[in-house]
Amino acid sequence: MTNDVTLQVATANGSGSQSSNTVLLRSLFQMGIPVSGKNLFPSNIAGLPTWYTIRASRDGYVARKKEVDVLVAMNPETARDDVAALPPGATVIYDAPLALEGSRADLVYYPVAFDAVVEPITGEAKLRKLLRNMAYVGVVARLLDIEMAEVETAIGRVFGQKARARDLNLAAARAGFEAAGRLPRRHPHRVARMDATRGKIVVDGNAACALGALFAGVTVVAWYPITPSTSLVETLSAYLRRYRHEPDGKATYAVVQAEDELAAMGMVLGAGWAGARAMTATSGPGISLMSEFAGLGYYAEIPGVVFDVQRVGPSTGLPTRTAQGDVISTALLSHGDTQQILILPGSVEECFSLSIEAFDVAERFQTPVFVLTDLDLGMNNWMAEPFAYPERPMDRGKVLGKDELEKLGGFARYRDVDGDGIGWRTLPGTDHPRAAYFTRGTGHDETAAYSERSDVFTANMDRLARKIDGAREALPAPVLRGGGDARVGILAYGSSDPAVRECQDQLRAEAGLATDYLRVRAWPFSRKVRDFVAAHDRVYVVEQNRDGQLGALLRLDLPPEHGPRLRAVAHVTGLPLDARSVTDAILARERS
C-alpha cells in the first residue's frame, strides 16, 4: 500500500486549513509522487464545513477517489458523518475531544490532542486555532512517512515572505510530527519517494486559462465576479500587471469590472468589433444573462471569448460545486437559430493552450467562442507539464486595412468572397472613406445594409450555418486513447478525463473489457467524432450533468442510424467525477 492513498481532511472554511492542505499536497509532489487535491467548500465565507481530499497515486491517477483511506477529522459538526462514510479498515486521525473511537469497530483510530500539541507554540488563542491545522500536517506526515524536510520546504513556499507566520507554522507541523511519533502505528498506508513529478508544475485551471489569455495577447477584459470564475480574472489581472506594462508604465490591456454580465458581454462585443482581443469569464447564471448579446455576436459576427467555469445549476444552484451543465444551452445560446462555438479543455495544459486557440478561432470565424471548463478543473490544483510557449503567431482573422481598401476600392462586409462563409471586416477608426459599415442585429445584406428581404435573409443564414460548419476541423481535434479497435467506445470531455482514463484501466482489469476513449474538445464536432461512433458498437457518453447534454448534441450530429449506439452515463453530484462510478455504470450496462 505504498503511494496509493486517499486522505481526506474535514475542517470548517475560513479556518486556514487551505494552507495546510496545500502543504500536504506539495510535500507529496516534491517527493515525486503523483498527487491531486480536491477542495470541497461551501458557498459562504467562513464557518461551514469543508473537505479537502488528497490522492497520492503511484499509477498517476488524479481523479477523485470516493473511498477515503485516511480521514483527518477536525470539524465537530461533521465528524460523525465523516466517520460513518469511511470504508472498512480506514484510518481516522482526529481531534481527541471528539472521542470518535467508539463510533465504529472496523477503523483504525489515532486521537491527537491538537490543543495540547500547539499550546507551547504561542499564547495567542486565535493563532493557536489556526496552528492546529498545521499540526495535523505534521501528524499526517509522520503517519504516512511524508518527509519532514519536504513539509518544511512546502511551508516555506506557502508562507513565502511572512517570516513569523512561516516559523509558527513550521513549529506547529513539527509539534504534530512529534506528537504522532507517540502513536502506535496500526494502519497500512504509506508513501515513499518516487520520480514521477520531475519538471512538472502545479496549477489550477483558472490560472492556466488566465495564462492562456495572457499569451494570446488579450487586450480587453470585462467581467463580473462569480464563483468559480472569479479567480480566473483575478489571476489574469495579476499576470497582466506583471507582464503587460510598457517600460513607461503604460498598460497594453484594460481590465474593467462591469456592472453585470450583460454589460460585460456588451463590452466584449464592442471591443471585439473594434478589433481587440476581448474576453470575459463567468459561470452559468452569467451565461444566461449573456444570451441576448450572444445572439447578437453570432448574427452580427463579432469575435469574443467567453470562459464559462461551470458550477452546478440550474439557477444559483450549488455555486461551489462542479458540473458540466451548461453545454447544450451554451451551444444554442440565444433565441432564433444560433450556434455558438464551444471549446472544451480537458486538463490544465489545455486550459492554457486551448485558451490561446480560442482567441484565434474567435477572430478567424468572427464569432463568440465559449471556453467551457468547470469548478473542478478551474479551482482545484493539478499537476501538469510546464506550459509550452505558443509556436504559431496570432491569427487575427480577415481584417482589411486602409491600404487593402485602397487597392480593392471597397468591400462588402458579409460577402463570402473566399467560399468559407467568412467575410472580411474593417475596424472602426480605419482611415479610409470606404472603410465604414453598419453593424446591426437586424436583417442585413452583404453590404451590411438593412434588409427585410426573404432571399437576403435566408442566404445570410445559410452562409452563417456554413461558416460554423466550416469550423469543425479548425477547432481542437478530439483525442483518442486506445488502439481504436475496441468494440466499446467511451466519449467524454473536460474534467471527466482523469476519471475516464482510470475507468478504462478498471474495465480492463476487472472485466477484461477493452475500450477506446475519445475525448471531445470542441463543438461543432470534428468528423472524427462521427467516425469514432461509426467504428464502435456501443459508445458510452460520460458527462457531469443530468440530461446528457453533449450526448444530445452528438445525437443531433450523427447519422441517425448511429444514434442507437450511444449510451448516456450522465450524472451530476457536484463532486468531481470518480472512476468507480463510471466503471460501475458501464459494467452494469455491459452486463445487462
Binding site: L211, T252, A274, P390, T442
Partner: protein
C-alpha cells in the same frame, strides 16, 4: 469666411462638403423630431470638420436608435440591442481610445430598459457623446409610455401616466457625467451649439433632446408634443460655441455670460437667462432640476459642465496606441516570461 461667388459646394476646414457627412435616406416618419436631430448632428460634424473615419456611431433599438443610419455614412456604426448601447460603446472605446464615440438612444432605450447601463456609463465618465432623443414614448412599438413620460401626460388612446418621470439629466449630473444639457429638436441654434460642445468634450457628454413623435405623442394632452414644448421650453442660457480653430478673442460680458473653456480650447458661451443658474455646481444643478419637477416648464440649456475632469479611458493608464491594433510583440509576452511563470509553479 466670406461667401464666394462660385457655385462650388462649400467645404469645411478639412475640405469636405456637407454631402460627405450625409447618411442613408431616413425611414422615420416625416416630421419626426429625430430627423431634425440627425440634421443637427451632421451639420455640427461638418462645421467642426470632424473626420468621419474617426467617429464610431452607437445606438440601441428604437426609432431614435435607427437614426445613426441617416447621417455620417462614412463612419462605422454599431446598432446594438435594446438598452445596451453603453456597454458596447464602452468596449469599443476600450479597444480604441482614439474613436470619437457618438451615441444616439431613445428615452425607452435609455431610461426604461437601459437605465442600469446608463447609470454605470455616466459614473465612469466614459468619453462619448450620448444623445437621448426624448419623445416620452416608445415610438417603434407604437406609442407606450416610457420612463421619461410626465405625470399626467395622456396617450392617444386616453391612458394617463401616473408615475413620475426619470429626469435623465438630473441623474447624469448626480452620477458623474461631466457635460450635461437639455435641448429641443426644434431649437436649431441651441442644439447645434450644444452638440458642438459635446463633440469636443472629453468625458461623458449627455444631451437629453426633446424630440416629438409626430405619430404617437404629438396630440393635445401630451407633454412632449411640438405645441406643448414650443410653449414650455425655457432656455436657461443663450448658447454659442466658438471652436478652437476660430478666433476666441471676441468680446463678451462676463457679468451676464459664462464662458466655459472646453478641453480642446474651444469656448462655450452661456449668456444667462436665469441669473442664478450655475452650471458648475452638481448639487445646485440637480436641486434646480428637482425643484422644477412637476412644473410644466422645461428648462433647457447647458445644465452642467466640468470640462477638465479625468475621463474613464485616461484613468485606465493604457498605452497611447489603440489596444485593438497593438502588434503581437506588444501583447504576447516573451518566452522568458512563460519560463518564469512555469518556474514559479514548480
Amino acid at each position: 469666411m466670406p461667401p464666394t461667388a462660385t457655385t462650388a459646394p462649400r467645404q469645411n476646414r478639412i475640405g469636405l462638403t456637407v454631402v460627405d457627412y450625409r447618411g442613408g435616406k431616413t425611414t422615420l416618419c416625416a416630421g419626426c423630431g429625430h430627423n431634425a436631430i440627425s440634421e443637427r448632428i451632421l451639420e455640427a460634424c461638418y462645421d467642426l470638420g470632424v473626420a468621419s473615419e474617426r467617429v464610431a456611431k452607437f445606438s440601441g433599438i428604437g426609432c431614435s436608435s435607427k437614426s445613426p443610419a441617416y447621417f455620417l455614412s462614412r463612419s462605422h456604426a454599431f446598432n446594438a440591442v435594446h438598452g445596451r448601447m453603453p456597454s458596447v460603446a464602452t468596449g469599443a472605446l476600450l479597444a480604441n481610445r482614439h474613436l470619437l464615440a457618438l451615441g444616439v438612444s431613445g428615452d425607452g432605450d435609455t431610461a426604461s430598459i437601459g437605465i442600469g447601463q446608463f447609470v454605470h456609463l455616466v459614473r465612469r465618465n466614459l468619453p462619448m457623446v450620448y444623445v437621448v432623443e426624448n419623445n416620452g414614448v416608445y415610438g417603434l412599438t407604437k406609442g407606450q409610455f416610457s420612463a421619461t413620460a410626465d405625470m399626467g401626460s395622456v396617450l392617444k388612446g386616453g391612458a394617463v401616466n401616473d408615475l413620475p418621470p426619470i429626469d435623465t439629466c438630473a441623474l447624469a449630473i448626480q452620477l458623474g457625467a461631466t457635460f450635461v444639457g437639455r435641448s429641443f429638436s426644434g431649437d436649431k441654434k441651441q442644439l447645434s451649439a450644444m452638440l458642438k460642445a459635446a463633440l469636443v468634450h472629453r468625458g461623458t457628454a449627455f444631451l437629453d433632446v426633446l424630440s416629438p413623435c409626430v405619430t404617437f405623442n404629438d396630440h393635445e394632452g401630451s407633454t412632449k408634443s411640438y405645441a406643448f414644448l414650443k410653449e414650455q421650453v425655457e432656455p436657461l442660457q443663450e448658447i454659442s460655441f466658438v471652436p478652437a480653430f476660430e478666433d476666441i478673442a471676441v468680446d463678451y460680458d462676463p457679468g451676464t455670460t459664462v464662458a466655459v473653456r472646453m478641453h480642446d480650447g474651444s469656448q462655450l458661451r452661456l449668456r444667462k437667462l436665469e441669473a442664478e443658474y450655475d452650471p458648475s455646481s452638481r448639487s445646485r444643478a440637480v436641486a434646480r432640476l428637482l425643484e422644477s419637477a412637476g412644473e410644466e416648464t422645461v428648462l433647457t440649456g447647458v445644465l452642467f459642465a466640468d470640462p477638465d475632469a479625468p475621463d474613464f479611458l485616461t484613468r485606465l493608464g493604457t498605452v497611447e496606441a489603440a489596444l485593438a491594433t497593438l502588434p503581437e510583440r506588444a501583447v504576447r509576452p516573451p518566452r522568458a516570461a512563460l519560463d518564469e511563470v512555469n518556474a514559479s509553479l514548480r
